[in-house]
């Protein structure tokens, strides 16, 4: 016989009211302000990216509107030497870890240099094939374990990803090898048009951990304090030899799936409206205001500064020349094989080429 419990963690109510005994973190206003700034920065980046896409100056983009507490909460609990393996909706975590807004714009603008992070050099690039980075996290964690480094691999993916075999395989291996890895499910209730309840009959997604014999926990993903606490606990466990765990952060995707999506085809505006009051910025701002650490002025200054930073990055992005044609070839292998050098020469020859078409599709 075996028994399992899946816990749920929440520190602040949606209106910012503290619940029960708050963790120490909740009394560390400087840190909370840092988290708030990061969430605002993420939202500002998202808004700018959507605007650029709408005006044909960026490719298809996946906004994290309303989910900012998850990537920020997770990343803020990580050490610099840990490795992040994000999916495509974790700009918040990437920005926290030092990926620059310019790099992110480049990536989403269709330029590989955007994944050549100047900051966290070992972090993985965005993973588009859903869930397929989960096994990489196990591999990175195995590397840490074998080298006896106190580092942790952190993979973030969505509720939809939990249906993928890759994720189950990775969790299982991380479990049996007690790897220093933390897997985070950003349950934003939707995988494009498929609602959470039609993705799995599991009452929680945290219980995917049970299949792997690792701890699983659900957390209010709009409560950045709770997310960070859960992440800190999981990271600490991983760092000290306690093995892998799974965190399900329950949030809501307020935006369309991507700029190529029209969510009104499959969900009511009313549903979206119902979730707005629960979004994470309101909550932390209200709490900070309640404890006297955030004013309207602070807010305005922050918005202005963030907008200026992101706008400058956008301008730099728009001013960036495309890579030269040979860049197509020069990173395929460490050394260009003979068989490819002919193709390279051909591509560089002044052959007639049609110009780039306008950026439209998804």
């Amino acid at each position: 016989m075996a028994h399992f419990d899946i816990g749920y963690r929440r520190c602040l109510a949606p209106d910012g009211r503290p619940l029960e005994a708050l963790p120490d973190l909740a009394h560390d206003a400087e840190t909370l302000i840092g988290l708030y700034r990061a969430m605002v920065r993420t939202r500002t980046f998202d808004a700018k990216a959507v605007a650029l896409q709408r005006t044909g100056r960026l490719g298809t983009f996946a906004s994290s509107l309303g989910q900012e507490a998850v990537p920020v909460g997770i990343a803020s609990a990580m050490c610099a030497e840990d490795v992040l393996l994000p999916s495509y909706r974790e700009h918040g975590a990437q920005l926290w870890r030092g990926v620059t807004p310019l790099e992110l714009f480049l990536y989403w603008g269709g330029d590989e240099r955007g994944s050549d992070f100047s900051g966290p050099r070992q972090d993985f690039p965005c993973c588009v094939p859903v869930g397929s980075h989960a096994p990489h996290a196990a591999g990175v964690a195995l590397a840490f374990k074998l080298r006896r480094e106190r580092r942790v691999a952190v993979a973030i993916f969505g509720d939809g990803a939990t249906s993928k075999g890759d994720v189950a395989e990775a969790l299982n291996i991380a479990g049996v090898w007690q790897l220093p890895a933390v897997f985070v499910v950003t349950n934003n209730q939707w995988a494009i048009s498929v609602p959470r309840r039609r993705q799995s009959a599991a009452e929680t997604l945290a219980q995917k951990a049970v299949a792997a014999g690792i701890p699983g926990e659900q957390v209010d993903g709009n409560d950045v304090i709770a997310v960070r606490q859960a992440a800190a606990a999981a990271l600490e466990r991983a760092r000290t030899g306690g093995g892998a765990s799974l965190i399900e952060a329950v949030t809501y995707r307020l935006a369309d799936h991507t700029t190529a999506d029209d969510a009104s085809r499959y969900r009511d505006d009313a549903e979206v409206s119902r979730h707005w009051p629960e979004e994470p910025l309101i909550r932390l701002r209200a709490y900070l205001a309640k404890i006297g650490r955030w004013t309207k002025d602070d807010e305005e200054r922050l918005l202005a500064a963030t907008a200026a930073e992101i706008d400058a990055a956008a301008s730099a992005y728009l001013a960036t020349e495309p890579q030269p044609p040979e860049s197509m070839f020069d990173y395929t292998f460490a050394r260009l094989p003979t068989d490819l050098s002919g193709q390279r020469a051909q591509a560089l020859a002044p052959v007639p080429a049609t110009g780039p078409e306008p950026m439209t599709a998804r």
């Binding site: 603008g109 588009v128 094939p129 939809g160 190529a260 080429a353 049609t354 078409e357 950026m359 599709a361």
Partner: protein
């Protein structure tokens, strides 16, 4: 008869097939209320209900595996893989099961299923959304591989694929989804799945293409005509089983050919066609067989995509190179 796009022709064929055969089901990610990310299944949920239009969880291997189970039980599943960049987890099911259930059981259990997927680049899509892996599928015995390149062919070939008794991988060139319109009669008439389509007759050279490259080949033929070169254009359309006869016959007449594929050169299906010609048509060739293909590199992200994609200019240039021979 109405002028419709290729994607609309796909929808029309799906609806027709579902109308005429209750065993036909549509399944995949977001095929229901959303109508598919490209709208291929638009309206089908409303019309045929949730028991015939199934939104699956996010799991491509299982989508293929489910289809196999359904097909074995006499259904005619038409599964959508959202982009071919995500079809790879389904390959195991295609190779090890779908394509060989008939042979493994001596015909006792069969697998009449269709796996549809938007394929190819040219639409400035994100990473992994511009793949052209058709050659991998064309190497699998027991599978049919079909790529339509016009609304009419999409309609007729999809109907035929759904009606076929065996598994079909049906790749739809994303960049042609809305590229042009054509009159398509919703008459339920299928098109053969073992025949190339000669789109244009010609005497000097034969341009052979499929999918997104067909439009480029036609444009190349126009350009060549300006230069006084008469180019036949063949849409291969069904890569497997291959209609080598039509190709060999045309090249037998013209003596020259250019085979265009969007996929990376090495190991692509253009190689197979070139090999067929080198085996069977060698003695009628006047010039080397030209292949115009993607490079053996990962397709660049959108900003440089246009430098990667083969186009009419490259095809025409290759044809002119061949014209330089006798």
């Amino acid at each position: 008869m109405v002028e419709i796009t290729l994607i609309q022709a796909v929808t029309l064929a799906l609806a027709r097939a579902m109308e005429e055969d209750p065993r036909v089901l549509v399944l995949g990610e977001d095929v229901g209320a959303d109508g598919g990310v490209f709208r291929a299944t638009d309206g089908l949920l409303a019309r045929f209900g949730a028991e015939r239009v199934l939104d699956t969880p996010l799991a491509e291997a299982a989508i293929a595996g489910l289809s196999i189970g359904l097909a074995a039980q006499g259904f005619r599943p038409v599964a959508e893989i959202q982009f071919t960049g995500f079809i790879y987890p389904a390959i195991d099911q295609l190779v090890n099961h779908a394509s060989r259930l008939r042979t493994r059981t001596r015909g006792r259990i069969t697998c009449p299923m269709v796996l549809r997927s938007p394929s190819g680049g040219g639409v400035h899509a994100p990473e992994h959304h511009s793949e052209s892996p058709e050659a991998m599928f064309a190497h699998i015995p027991g599978l049919r591989v079909v790529i339509p390149s016009s609304p009419r062919r999409a309609y007729g070939m999809l109907l035929a694929a759904i009606r076929d008794a065996d598994p079909v991988v049906f790749l739809e060139p994303t960049r042609l989804y809305r590229a042009s319109r054509e009159d398509v009669a919703d008459d339920g008439a299928g098109l053969p799945l073992d025949r190339c389509f000669v789109l244009r007759e010609g005497t000097d050279t034969t341009l052979i293409a499929w999918g997104g490259m067909v439009r480029e080949a036609l444009a190349a033929a126009d350009a060549l005509a300006q230069e006084g070169v008469s180019a036949a254009v063949i849409d291969v359309a069904t890569l497997k089983p291959l209609d080598a006869e039509t190709i060999v016959a045309s090249v037998g007449k013209t003596g020259r050919c250019v085979i265009a594929q969007e996929a990376p050169l090495t190991g692509g299906f253009a190689g197979e066609i070139a090999a067929r010609l080198a085996e069977r048509g060698l003695m009628t060739l006047l010039a080397p067989i030209e292949r115009v293909a993607g490079y053996d590199t990962v397709m660049p992200l959108p900003r440089l995509e246009h430098l990667y994609l083969p186009n009419a200019a490259r095809i025409a240039a290759a044809a002119l190179r061949a014209m330089a021979y006798a």
